[in-house]
């Protein structure tokens, strides 16, 4: 508890101090320093919470609706670990990344907001009182909004920030309603939550929509691909890796309060997760802005987490605790895995943006030779996100697959077998599409010939920008190889979620054997690779090795523009799914027999933004305009409205 308090104090003190630094150069050193110290303390507190069960702190702060009640149980500790790991490393990265803005912008304010964001995220996961939770949630949304619009001189950035603000507040409104229903008798304390049987479903629906807006579930994800690309890269990493996970935390916490899991919850989460995942990765495949691609990929991974949790709840509700444990452990582990590899991807994208000054994939290429460390870590993260062994992404997806496969026979006669089939098919589709998407992202960006002048002259990023990526890549590999230990360590977290049905150690033991075998296999792969590399070296030892240009089938002058572009790489698949992706094409061509000028532009709009939200908001605006006659601009008229209302109310009441 001391560690947690220490971390909070460091964050708040740092936030206040940095406000006064302003534009000075020290902000770039002080900000990351405070962030790292605070994160280390909070991580220590979180690990302690997971191992020993956490702490509970009640401060008698009598404001209107509750006390200051904080509680860190293993679930909070786990999310705290994820949040602080990402925040600390992203801060180290950001210190050097923001150096380019030193004299031009208010860096002190930016770092102060960063510290407030981290502190508020830690408060969200430890708040044990509805009002405190909402206050922390709101601080988190507002501080991240200000961080997103860091480059507010560009209108695109402002527009993205605006969409983000509106979306998060719509979600928060629903959460407000939900907490009001949850807290009866004027107390919103979580210890006193008692939900009547009829209120369970509305609360669950409100939680899914409210927290799902923050997490990025399907129709509510539209702010993600707008806000994440425009934010500075270390902020994108924190938002994508840590902030959207607070939505997942909220859903899990509400489900814990609502009692034993029900089958309908499992079905909802599975179907929502499947649709989210498939749509997310399809849209990612169609993007040619690197950061937008990564944002959609975050949507996809939230879908995978939701599938895992849904399978877990379904298993628990139908009386199969082993399946429940497997599904939940897969979903929860994927939270950490996604945080790790998505951070590397966003930080890498930031490095590329830093040196090429444009996020368009079509202008990149050949960066592996110029940015070797960034490229290698980006590749490792891409392999991890496609769930390839021996990295960590494979472990979490394996747990979900394994749960689904085990469920097949167990649920053979019932309706639930359909759920496991949906899980397997959707995970398979998502896996295949993710492979396409990330081989495009990693391959076109880092491999091949540079496609533009800036790419040819790219330079490797600074040492502080590389160190966090290397650390995180190491985490990817370590979690993948040492997965049995990781799952063992996280056991208290799983028990907290399935609290109503104590699963004991035996349920996850069925998963322990495969995980141990996977680790062994990973080590064997590494051994075999070394042997083969030695063999290859021996074979080529005294033979001639030539270097020449790529085979060009006899064309006289191949250029880098003749390579496959990102859009052409993805074209077969995006062509198949054109209707879902809202694809469009603009072709401009000279007329006549020998056209000199030819240009083609493809784009893929988010169909939810254009077909669902825009018409909805236009409709609301139209209806509001009908009432326009009430607004004339005369003060007296408004006071007159007030008086009439007052008099009529008085007459009516009396």
């Amino acid at each position: 508890m001391v560690l947690f308090a220490g971390a909070m104090i460091v964050f708040f003190v740092g936030a206040v101090l940095l406000l006064f630094i302003g534009r000075a150069k020290g902000a770039n050193i002080a900000g990351p320093l405070f962030a790292v110290v605070g994160s280390v303390l909070a991580m220590a507190a979180s690990i302690d919470a997971i191992r020993t069960g956490g702490f509970e702190l009640v401060l008698p702060w009598h404001f209107q609706m509750g006390l200051l009640h904080l509680k860190m149980d293993p679930l909070s500790g786990y999310f705290g670990l994820v949040i602080c790991l990402v925040s600390g490393l992203a801060a180290i990265y950001g210190g050097q990344y923001m150096a380019a803005y030193t004299k031009k912008k208010q860096l002190g304010v930016s770092w102060s907001l960063y510290l407030i964001l981290t502190a508020s995220m830690m408060l969200v996961i430890t708040a044990w009182n509805g009002v405190l939770f909402l206050i922390a949630w709101e601080i988190m949304s507002v501080s991240s909004f200000f961080l997103v619009i860091f480059e507010s001189e560009k209108p695109r950035v402002l527009k993205a920030g605006w969409i983000y603000l509106v979306a998060t507040h719509l979600g928060t409104a629903l959460l407000l309603v939900m907490f009001m229903i949850l807290g009866k008798n004027n107390s919103y304390d979580f210890n006193l939550v008692q939900v009547s049987a009829t209120a369970v479903t509305p609360i669950f629906i409100l939680a899914i929509i409210g927290f799902g807006t923050k997490a990025g579930f399907l129709p509510f994800h539209v702010w993600l691909p707008e806000a994440h690309p425009e934010a500075p890269s270390h902020v994108s990493a924190v938002m994508s890796a840590a902030m959207i996970k607070t939505g997942i935390y909220g859903i899990i916490r509400i489900c814990i309060f609502l009692g034993p899991p029900r089958a309908s919850w499992g079905w909802t989460l599975i179907i929502a997760g499947a649709l989210t995942g498939i749509f997310g990765v399809l849209s990612a495949l169609a993007q040619h802005n690197l950061k937008r691609l990564l944002a959609y990929s975050s949507v996809e991974n939230i879908g995978i987490i939701s599938i895992g949790l849904g399978l877990g709840f379904l298993g628990l509700s139908t009386g199969h605790p082993i399946i429940g444990a497997l599904g939940i452990s897969g979903g929860i582990l994927h939270v950490m895995n996604h945080a790790v590899f998505k951070s590397i991807l966003f930080l890498g994208a930031g490095s590329v943006l830093h040196s090429i000054h444009t996020p368009a994939i079509e202008k990149m290429g050949g960066l592996m030779k110029r940015m070797p460390i960034t490229g290698t870590t980006f590749l490792i993260a891409s392999a991890a996100i496609c769930a390839l062994p021996p990295f960590n992404g494979f472990i979490s997806e394996f747990l979900i697959y394994f749960g689904a496969f085990s469920f097949l026979y167990a649920s053979k006669g019932t309706f639930s077998v359909l759920a496991s089939i949906i899980v397997i098919v959707s995970l398979a589709l998502i896996g295949g599409l993710a492979l396409a998407c990330f081989s495009k992202a990693a391959g076109i960006v880092f491999l091949g010939e540079p496609r533009s002048f800036e790419a040819k002259n790219a330079h490797e990023s600074g040492i502080f920008m590389r160190i966090p990526m290397i650390i995180l890549a190491g985490c990817c590999l370590l979690i993948g190889v040492f997965s049995p230990y990781v799952i063992n360590f996280l056991h208290p977290v799983f028990e907290t979620i399935t609290g109503h049905q104590p699963i004991g150690f035996t349920a996850l033991e069925s998963a322990a054997i495969p995980l141990v075998m996977i680790s062994k296999t990973a080590l064997i792969i590494v051994m075999v690779l070394f042997l083969l590399a030695a063999l290859r070296w021996y074979l080529l030892k005294d033979k001639t090795i030539q270097e020449t240009g790529t085979w060009d089938c006899g064309y006289a002058a191949p250029t880098s523009r003749m390579q496959y572009t990102a859009s052409s790489f993805a074209a077969p698949i995006t062509g198949m799914f054109g209707a879902v992706l809202g694809s469009g094409k603009e072709l401009k061509m000279d007329t006549g027999l020998f056209p000199i000028f030819l240009s083609i532009k493809t784009h893929s709009k988010d169909i939810f933004l254009y077909l669902l939200y825009r018409p909805l908001f236009y409709g609301i605006e139209w209806a509001a305009l009908r009432l326009h006659f009430l607004q004339r601009g005369y003060n007296q008229l408004y006071i007159f409205y007030i008086v009439i209302t007052l008099i009529s109310l008085l007459l009516w009441v009396l």
């Binding site: 062994p389 053979k412 296999t521």
Partner: protein, 296 residues
């Protein structure tokens, strides 16, 4: 039991290059030719391993690493897939998921090596490869789903034991189609052609030479053996109780599957590219049908 596993592994690792030879012989038979010798691939190996290598200036370490990854995943896969009744060296519950994703890893490495060369041909091959594998993976996993639902087991070594007659042909057909797709055989890809418009797998390895090419060919042969083992286990009739007997029956079935591939290659032409997704979706539906038949 150790002997049988060792024998199985040695057989596989040494004999898998025979598979392309058998296919060539079958095709030659249909064409009325004498064809290449069955052991042709060994001769090719000897030639390639003695050569030096030529690398493109555009490529990075990924290009050199990808053949190694193909072979490594192939070797591990061989240790996972059973032939006959005995479990293999690395069998464990859920090993089929590892198998599918190991092949995904090999595919990732190959696609990246193809994009590494910065050539339009390899990019084209890579783009088609990811599209077809995206469609083939659900078919494969649904087939495995059907097996798992039937037997209640989640390890490949124990899944094939209880298979009824009705579902066998459907499931075997689905896995056979996936085999053709993943190993770049007709009707998905023609391993003999080198026209840029018609290649998929061949075009991705266009720039590899020397020992790298030898490794890639070996990895492809291992992959073929693995898929053929899966199909063979599906068509072996139940009733072979002894370990050696089931291994022998499995091997014979494997050769039959390989011959069947050769026959398909001889009597069909390559499909139009736009039809390939339809065929793969058809394979998925076949798996789905067998799954539905099992879970009813």
């Amino acid at each position: 039991m150790k002997y049988i596993i060792t024998t199985h592994l040695l057989f596989t690792l040494i004999l898998c290059p025979v598979i392309p030879g058998i296919i060539q012989k079958v095709k030659a038979f249909f064409a009325g030719r004498k064809g290449k010798p069955v052991l042709q691939m060994y001769y090719d190996w000897g030639k390639l391993l003695r050569k030096g290598a030529v690398y493109s200036r555009t490529t990075t370490w990924i290009f050199k690493a990808s053949p190694l990854i193909s072979v490594a995943t192939g070797i591990i896969g061989v240790m996972l897939v059973p032939l006959g009744k005995t479990p293999n060296l690395l069998s464990f519950p859920g090993d089929m998921i590892l198998l599918v994703y190991l092949f995904g890893f090999a595919r990732f490495a190959t696609v990246l090596a193809a994009l590494d060369t910065g050539s339009a041909f390899e990019g084209m091959g890579a783009s088609r490869e990811v599209q077809f594998s995206m469609l083939a993976e659900p078919a494969m996993l649904l087939g495995l789903c059907a097996l798992s639902a039937l037997s209640g087991e989640t390890s490949m070594s124990t899944m094939f034991t209880s298979l009824q007659a009705g579902t066998r042909p459907v499931l075997a057909a689905a896995i056979f189609i996936v085999l053709l797709a993943e190993n770049s055989r007709i009707p998905f890809d023609d391993p003999n052609t080198h026209l840029e418009l018609t290649m998929i797998h061949e075009v991705m390895i266009l720039d590899h030479s020397g020992p790298d090419l030898a490794f890639i060919e070996y990895g492809a042969a291992l992959k073929f053996w693995i898929y053929a083992s899966l199909t063979a286990s599906l068509i072996v009739p139940p009733g072979f109780s002894g370990e050696w007997k089931s291994l022998g029956a499995g091997l014979i079935a494997l050769i039959l599957v390989v011959a069947a591939v050769g026959i398909v290659e001889s009597v069909m032409a390559r499909l139009k590219l736009t039809r390939v997704p339809q065929l793969l979706v058809g394979a998925t539906i076949l798996s789905l049908i067998s799954l539905i038949l099992i879970i009813r």
